[in-house]
């Protein structure tokens, strides 16, 4: 009896996750925010015992997220990223280092400052990409640049996590542990490269064949989780392991099959990971409200400036630059992943992530209109303009 109650509780929770995401989507609230909200509210009625049933998904969340990012990469693609490195570096310079210094000034130790800067820096791939799709802006010149910078940020975030996790583990930047960590990473990359060069071509036909099996999903999930967790145990980041594994997957039939088998599982796991992030955080206000408000303000201003510069470097017209700069503020999944490493950073991050995700989504929606105000379109013979979706006033 007790058991079936917890069971029902968890599955009701799943339905609530859907409903909240679905309803809030109507008012342009990104799904990640609705999952976090459900997590907070669940504190009041879901027993911690019940949530043990879905711990596996929580573990799988980050691992699958990074595995899928790895899938999107290939060595050829990395070569095509040459045009993006300047905008990417500008984005990093503006959104990482100033906040790192600011955190030090506010009395945080270097490790916490690194983490705060890590939460502050990356825009949300899922939110920005979804908004570009929903608002029919994929054909615009900025889509290419924004997605490019997002990919650059993904890489930086993976490197950051690989560095931060061992540092957070040991609780100090011990000069003795650094060479060991570096050695581990070099070793992993070497093994990975050898695997890619020597073994992958040999087993690829077998992979393509076996990916047709119904039971393939077991092998897939098992392998990804084992690699991820082993990396974690070895004091590296599970994100790195999952990402590398994703890069290894050849762009053949097996790739399609993997996406088909795992994408629903990934949605579920990452949603549950966000849920836990909120569910397991204390509902206390951050110590230093001034600092949090400053972070939010900077999070908007610095991103807008850096994206404007990035668009300038990318050779865009003035009007497009303005529109682009207002479309990159939302923070999301990476900030959550980095914040989850350290409880004290978590408390600071929650309001920051909420505010930037919501304000950023709003700015994204009004960006074209703002650009029109500053640079009015040339008057043409009157023609029916396509109606843009109104913000916050959608009749469902």
């Amino acid at each position: 009896m007790e058991h079936s109650l917890t069971f029902i509780q968890i599955n009701l929770l799943f339905i609530i996750m859907f409903l909240s995401a679905y309803i809030l989507k109507k008012v342009r609230v990104p799904p990640i925010i609705s999952y976090l909200l459900v997590g907070f509210l669940a504190k009041f009625w879901v027993h911690p015992e019940s949530t043990r049933l879905i711990e596996l998904f929580k573990e799988a969340g980050i691992i699958l997220l990074f595995f899928f990012i790895g899938l999107e990469y290939s060595f050829e693609r990395l070569r095509n990223m040459v045009s993006i490195w300047k905008p990417g570096v500008v984005d990093l310079l503006f959104n990482f280092f100033p906040v790192f210094l600011l955190s030090l000034m506010f009395g945080f130790d270097p490790i916490l400052s690194l983490l705060i800067a890590g939460v502050f820096y990356p825009s949300s791939t899922s939110i920005v990409a979804k908004l570009l799709m929903d608002f029919k802006r994929l054909a615009s010149p900025e889509a290419e640049l924004l997605i490019g910078i997002l990919i650059f940020e993904d890489l930086v975030a993976i490197i950051l996590l690989s560095v931060l996790i061992p540092v957070v583990e040991f609780g100090s930047v011990d000069p003795g542990t650094l060479p060991i960590s570096l050695f581990k990473i070099v070793l992993v990359l070497t093994v990975f490269y050898l695997f890619y060069k020597l073994l992958m071509p040999k087993i690829q036909p077998w992979l393509d064949r076996v990916s047709e099996e119904e039971s393939f999903v077991f092998f897939l999930l098992g392998l990804i989780m084992v690699i991820g967790v082993s990396f974690k145990e070895a004091g590296l980041s599970e994100a790195l392991g999952a990402f590398l594994l994703g890069v290894l997957v050849p762009e053949t039939r097996v790739m399609e099959s993997i996406e088909h088998h795992l994408s629903a599982l990934k949605e579920l796991s990452i949603g549950i990971f966000f849920f836990f992030f909120a569910y397991e955080s204390s509902l206390s206000l951050p110590q230093d409200l001034r600092f949090v408000l400053l972070l939010i303000a900077l999070g908007i201003v610095l991103k807008v400036i850096s994206t404007y510069l990035a668009a300038y470097l990318y050779g865009m017209k003035k009007k497009t630059r303005l529109r682009t700069s207002l479309s990159f503020v939302p923070r999301g999944e990476f900030s959550v992943v980095i914040a989850s490493l350290e409880p004290s950073v978590k408390i600071l991050s929650i309001p920051f992530i909420f505010a930037t995700a919501l304000i950023g989504s709003f700015l994204f929606v009004i960006a074209p209109r703002v650009a029109d105000i500053f640079y009015p379109p040339k008057k043409k013979p009157p023609k029916k303009k396509a109606q843009r979706e109104p913000f916050l006033t959608q009749a469902s």
Partner: protein, 163 residues
């Protein structure tokens, strides 16, 4: 015709085609298989229209655009609608009023305003049959031309006839 291909990792692929009139046509093939076509006119920032297609719809449209679609026509029933004119294939039954009459005898033009432009008899086809010579037999298929109304009155007059 210049195609620019760009990768949108995580989303799909984007192809931009510069059109002769200075506008741009952008095709986005999503990883999910969905296609989106954006038409952006010259000097415009916003797309004038966006067309979203499923994978199957896109493939059908592609065939049509390439002009390679060939749809076999059902021979027993084909309507060519050219503004007002309708062509109808009419099979003459045993008990039809037209059986064993020539077209002139039956006064088809006068009574129904429709004209018989061809008669299909077995393997043969008599194109523009002579109204005084050609006798209509049961089992013939008459190719009749007229407006919808003419054809209807022809069918009524014909009696036991099938389309």
């Amino acid at each position: 015709m210049r195609f620019r291909e760009t990768d949108l990792p995580g989303v799909g692929k984007r192809y931009t085609l510069e059109l002769e009139d200075g506008g741009e046509l952008t095709l986005i093939i999503h990883n999910t298989g969905r296609r989106e076509l954006y038409i952006i006119e010259q000097e415009e920032e916003e797309p004038t229209c966006v067309i979203s297609l499923t994978e199957d719809e896109a493939k059908d449209l592609g065939f049509l655009l390439a002009g390679t679609t060939y749809q076999p026509v059902a021979p027993e029933k084909m309507e060519l609608i050219m503004k007002e004119m309708v062509m109808e294939w009419v099979r003459v039954g045993e008990g039809s009023n037209l059986v064993n009459k020539t077209i002139a005898e039956a006064q088809i033009r006068k009574k129904t305003k429709a004209s018989i432009v061809a008669i299909i008899r077995g393997e043969d086809m008599i194109v523009s049959p002579d109204p005084y010579d050609t006798v209509i037999k049961p089992g013939d298929t008459l190719v009749v031309v007229g407006t919808r109304q003419h054809i209807n009155s022809f069918l009524e007059y014909c009696g036991e006839c099938y389309t």
